[in-house]
């Protein structure tokens, strides 16, 4: 019997010597440990052994089985690792090949700036209102304290569609519509397209503005400055300051031109700020009393401020775009750059 056992052990050793795959190993394992396998056959033969020898014989056979099982299990483990390594080696790819994900598009720079501005101001309690682009003389001029003989009408060359209807020259027109329909407190932003008969590298017959309006009790010029400081920091950077200087718009009094300290050079003077350290970004002022009164808002109770900026101008400053035309041409080489 012992001889038989030795033979089995030997033949196991022989059989697994050159095994390369788990599958072959499994077959060999079945040859010995399967239901009809050689070791199982020996186990079955226990019936033919005299009962007194059975316990010792059983022990020997069990030891054989255990030895065999351990042997196979160790081999299986080893083969598995080997096979995995081979599989990994086979599957190795060039990780520098290009990715397959679909290409992203991009928002127009105007949309990027518009959304950035809206997020800054909506955090301060501003609602967004978009008025019509085709306005009448009243909303675009008269209600904004610019009667027909006013020289300020010449400040903006207007496209007329009829005697009375025109393409709005300023988003301020929308402010009147808001004030007519809403009682203070008012905090609105009106973004949108505006039109002026002007066409060169820095002017386009169509461009976009963002107008802001606050009307409430006790609003001061200092509040305007405070809000614009916040805007300048959020849009152009933490260290950017604002400067007010006198200007004129028919619908505000006092009126100011607002400069921000140059975010490129920090105010030392560079090409962007033409050596002055300051960049003009918007016009603003305290809402003219006539404008408030015309909209049914009592100027003795309420005051307010308004500001307006060109979205393209902010975009051009922020991204360093040197020609306004690029914004309207739709050249994909230009648009692609605004993915980030």
């Amino acid at each position: 019997m012992q001889k038989k056992i030795d033979e089995i052990e030997k033949s196991i050793d022989e059989a697994v010597k050159d095994v390369q795959s788990s599958k072959t190993l499994q077959e060999i394992k079945m040859r010995f440990l399967g239901k009809t396998g050689e070791i199982s056959a020996l186990m079955k033969n226990m019936r033919d052994i005299p009962p007194e020898e059975r316990p010792s014989m059983g022990k020997i056979l069990n030891a054989l089985r255990q030895w065999t099982e351990e042997k196979f299990s160790a081999l299986e483990q080893k083969l598995k690792e080997f096979e995995l390594k081979r599989k990994y080696a086979e599957e190795k790819i060039d990780v520098t090949l290009p990715g397959k994900s679909t290409e992203n598009g991009a928002y127009h720079p105007n949309t990027l700036i518009k959304n950035e501005l809206i997020s800054v101001f909506s955090g301060m309690g501003f609602e967004v209102f978009e008025g019509p682009e085709i306005e009448n003389d009243y909303y675009n001029f008269t209600a904004l304290n610019t009667p027909s003989d006013h020289p300020a009408r010449d400040m903006q060359d207007t496209f007329y569609l009829s005697n009375d209807l025109l393409l709005r020259t300023q988003t301020s027109a929308g402010q009147i519509r808001v004030m007519e329909n809403k009682k203070p407190p008012i905090k609105i932003l009106s973004p949108g397209k505006v039109y002026r008969s002007d066409d060169d590298a820095t002017h386009s017959p169509m461009f976009s503005q963002m107008e802001g309006l606050v009307v409430d009790k006790g609003i001061t010029l200092c509040d305007l400055k405070g809000m614009l400081d916040e805007f300048a920091r959020k849009i152009f950077g933490d260290n950017v300051k604002t400067r007010l200087r006198p200007s004129y718009f028919p619908f505000t009094e006092p009126s100011v031109e607002v400069d921000v300290s140059c975010f490129e050079c920090g105010g030392k003077g560079c090409r962007l700020c033409k050596g002055t350290g300051w960049i003009e970004v918007l016009g603003a002022g305290m809402v003219n009393r006539h404008v408030l009164a015309g909209c049914g808002v009592d100027p003795d109770i309420y005051s307010g401020f308004a500001f307006g900026m060109g979205i393209e101008r902010i975009a051009m400053l922020k991204y360093g775009i040197n020609n306004m035309k690029l914004l309207f041409e739709g050249d994909v080489r230009f648009l692609k750059q605004f993915k980030g």
Binding site: N104, V214, G226, Y248
Partner: protein, 803 residues
């Protein structure tokens, strides 16, 4: 507005540099757009006295010894015909810069640096200069127009810098004046601001004159259009001696860019610059009936203006007439028939106020824009009208070119405004608007500097506004005057301490639009922004029929050009235009979208607010095809939680077989398709292009609110079916049939189409993946039954077989 520093100094004792003054003006609201240094290109030119002058034989040259005082004595070769011993002329030393002139000695061709050189073998250490080489002309400096040497006064010190002597040390401020300050469209107006900002006293010009009494034949002036001519002043000057103007007057005009014409006309131009009041002088000989009538022109009436242009007028135009005919186009230009001639001996001076919008309309309608019309359009005040006449008469006396009579006709009308505005404003009101505390005494001081008579009475300022400040209207204007001199730097930042809290942000519609843009960008589309106007040629480009509804576009009455003359009624031409531009620039593929408005008139020409309708346009070209575009429109439907159906349709600019209309809940919302090969060829496009347009406003009406549906406990099941059908059967028909055959079908997706040898001819094979979603119980066991039913229906209704 051009203001020479030397001229401003007549009225204000300016003790700061030009650059400092520029900064001060900027701080009080007058941006100096350009500070012109009149002698910026000239350096190293000194007074030189020719102490020896020997002609160089065989040439036109003279060899001179030039005494330049402490700079030394130099040998200089000179070709000028007026060089001779004893004269003093500008001498450009070695290293100096002057203007180089062409062979004609007149045309300036840039700046040159003087080097030591040899002329015909003779050493020359510098150059004697003409006025032109210093950038001067006859009006700027007498004798400078001559193309020989500029002769300097004999008392000039040898070696002294010539710039102060010839006036090249001056600066001209080109100032941007805001529309509310027409009073500053003049040297005096700017001088007033300069005085205020420097805290100096203003020296008013001399307005005095002595009228010579006499028995003069009367001149009658009638104003028949007082609404557009509220004030008209005439004054009679006799014994006029027309002559050239003195050098100082010519120089003043020249510095501001005006040419000298003769003393009488120059006086009116001088007043225009100095006070901002356009004036006119009529030769009284030509004025019939010694009568001036201010009236609206009769329709068809004609006038020839001083520049010899003839205009036909109408009642919108204001004319100055004599008893018979128009003699001037009011506020714009005088008539040729009454112009001042060399032998003019009697003059009627006119100083008037004409309504700004009337002058503007006339100047625009006739295309006749003058310095005079520009000032009237901005606004002239009557105080200045009166002062201007006085000043002109003073100058007549000063130039001794006529006898100022006492025949003075001042026509005031009910429209005339001669009283000073008086107002009472409270100190606290001003501080409340500004948000800072400015002491009352500081306010008073600032206002007084600006010539506002101001008395502090308790908490109130009692103010008399200067006559010329028609812009001052209420306390905010006073607040502005105060803060622009008190300094905007003193405005602190506060953050609405007294305002109510408001809830901001986007409206639901704006959020939805943003969400849609997010979706399109994530699908790889770039957003564009194109002009809201185009040309009817753009509609021609897309073969729109003459009676197509897209042709009912709103016209711009005054377009910048014909290319941008109608408001768009469809975005397709703009999108195709952008694709064309991209392809021509070598961008061979791309995916673009735009959400913009189209403008639909209720009637044409428009009389009422038109409909402004937001529309989505999509354009793709290059490596993409119809189904890429349809994939995008499908995403739009998904984004709005709705579904689109597609039906074949035709558009004038799209391929008739590759175009579909888009339906949503049965309503047409848009179309998509391939740009017709015919148009592609006309536009020489190297790639196929596909365009879609969806009425965004209509579409939003079909957006479905999002609602959560509980998921089933049981797994979904799918089956793939390969079907054979007639080639004409459309995918959508099959999908619809599959859905209607079984209520458990939740998704049908086509994944393969095959036409070829493996199927009967005239047939195609289409493979679908069908998803069945269980409800309250598992359905796996029922699916074979469902499939059988689906196949039966397909066979019965569409003659479709399982492949």
């Amino acid at each position: 507005m051009k203001a020479p520093l030397s001229w401003l100094k007549d009225y204000v004792d300016i003790d700061v540099t030009a650059e400092e003054l520029q900064a001060k003006l900027f701080s009080c609201g007058f941006e100096v757009e350009e500070l012109i240094d009149t002698g910026k290109d000239i350096s190293g030119v000194v007074v030189g006295e020719v102490i020896e002058c020997t002609p160089l034989e065989g040439t036109h040259l003279s060899v001179c010894k030039v005494d330049c005082g402490d700079k030394g004595i130099f040998q200089i070769c000179c070709g000028a015909d007026n060089v001779k011993k004893g004269i003093k002329a500008p001498c450009a030393l070695v290293g100096a810069t002057v203007y180089a002139t062409a062979k004609d000695h007149v045309t300036i061709e840039g700046v040159m640096t003087i080097k030591k050189g040899k002329l015909r073998g003779v050493e020359s250490e510098g150059m004697l200069c003409s006025g032109i080489e210093l950038g001067l002309n006859e009006d700027l400096y007498e004798g400078a127009g001559y193309c020989g040497l500029l002769l300097l006064p004999s008392d000039s010190a040898n070696g002294a810098d010539v710039k102060p002597i010839v006036g090249l040390d001056d600066y001209v401020f080109d100032i941007g004046v805001t529309a509310n300050r027409p009073d500053c469209q003049s040297i005096l107006g700017i001088a007033r601001e300069v005085a205020a900002v420097l805290g100096k006293k203003l020296k008013e010009p001399d307005y005095s004159y002595k009228a010579v009494k006499g028995k003069y034949e009367n001149i009658k002036i009638s104003d028949l259009a007082p609404d557009i001519c509220p004030r008209y002043i005439g004054h009679y000057v006799t014994g006029v001696k027309c002559a050239p103007s003195p050098a100082w007057l010519k120089k003043r005009l020249a510095l501001c860019g005006l040419r000298s014409i003769g003393n009488i006309v120059d006086i009116t131009n001088f007043i225009l610059l100095e006070l901002g009041q356009p004036m006119h002088a009529f030769d009284l000989r030509t004025i019939c009936g010694r009568e001036i009538v201010v009236r609206r022109a009769n329709k068809g009436e004609k006038i020839i203006t001083l520049d010899e242009n003839e205009f036909e007028l109408n009642s919108e135009n204001l004319v100055i007439c004599d008893s018979e005919k128009p003699v001037a186009l009011a506020g714009v230009m005088g008539g040729l028939n009454s112009e001042i001639k060399e032998d003019t001996s009697e003059v009627l001076f006119e100083a008037a106020k004409f309504a700004r919008d009337n002058v503007r309309k006339t100047a625009r309608a006739l295309g006749q824009h003058t310095d005079s019309s520009a000032l009237f359009e901005k606004g002239v005040n009557e105080y200045t009208t009166k002062m201007a006449m006085d000043r002109a008469l003073h100058l007549i006396e000063e130039l001794n070119c006529g006898t100022v009579t006492d025949l003075h006709i001042d026509v005031t009308t009910p429209y005339s405004r001669t009283e000073c505005k008086k107002m009472k404003v409270s100190v606290s009101q001003i501080n409340a608007l500004l948000g800072i505390e400015i002491a009352a005494k500081d306010m008073v001081k600032i206002l007084k500097n600006l010539n506002f008579k101001t008395v502090l009475n308790g908490g109130d300022l009692e103010i008399t506004v200067p006559d010329y400040r028609e812009d001052i209207d209420g306390y905010p204007d006073i607040a502005e005057e105060i803060i622009r001199f008190y300094g905007y730097d003193n405005i602190k930042s506060t953050f609405l301490p007294s305002a109510s809290i408001t809830n901001g942000g986007f409206t639901e519609e704006q959020k939805a639009e943003q969400k849609l843009k997010d979706c399109l960008v994530s699908k790889g589309l770039y957003e564009i922004s194109s002009y809201s106007f185009y040309s009817s040629k753009d509609l021609d480009m897309l073969h729109f029929a003459p009676d197509a509804k897209e042709r009912n576009a709103i016209r711009i009455l005054n377009p910048i050009s014909e290319d941008l003359s109608i408001m768009r009624t469809t975005l397709a031409p703009s999108m195709v235009g952008v694709i064309v531009r991209n392809l021509r620039r070598g961008n061979m593929a791309g995916k673009l979208f735009e959400i913009s408005k189209i403008y639909l008139a209720n009637e044409l020409p428009i009389q009422s607010f038109p409909k402004e309708k937001p529309v989505i346009a999509i354009g793709i070209w290059g490596k993409y095809d119809f189904f890429d575009l349809k994939g995008i429109t499908e995403s739009i439907a998904e984004n709005l939680n709705t579904e689109f159906e597609y039906e074949p349709c035709e558009k004038p600019f799209l391929h008739p077989g590759i175009t579909a209309r888009i339906l949503c809940d049965g309503a047409e919302v848009g179309y998509l398709g391939m740009l017709s090969p015919e148009i592609s060829e006309e536009l020489a496009l190297e790639r196929f292009a596909y365009v879609a347009e969806i009425d965004y406003e209509e579409l939003t009406k079909h957006a479905k609110p999002f609602r959560y549906v509980p998921i089933s406990k049981f797994a979904e099941a799918t089956r793939d079916l390969a079907l054979t059908c007639d080639i004409s059967v459309r995918c959508a028909e099959i999908e619809k049939e599959i859905y209607s055959a079984c209520k458990y079908v939740t998704d049908v997706k086509l994944f393969d189409v095959y036409i070829g040898s493996q199927v009967e001819s005239g047939k195609k094979s289409m493979a679908f993946k069908i998803t069945f979603t269980p409800k309250d119980e598992p359905i796996e066991t029922k699916i074979d039954g469902f499939v059988k039913k689906i196949l039966n229906n397909l066979k019965y209704k569409l003659n479709i077989d399982l492949r």
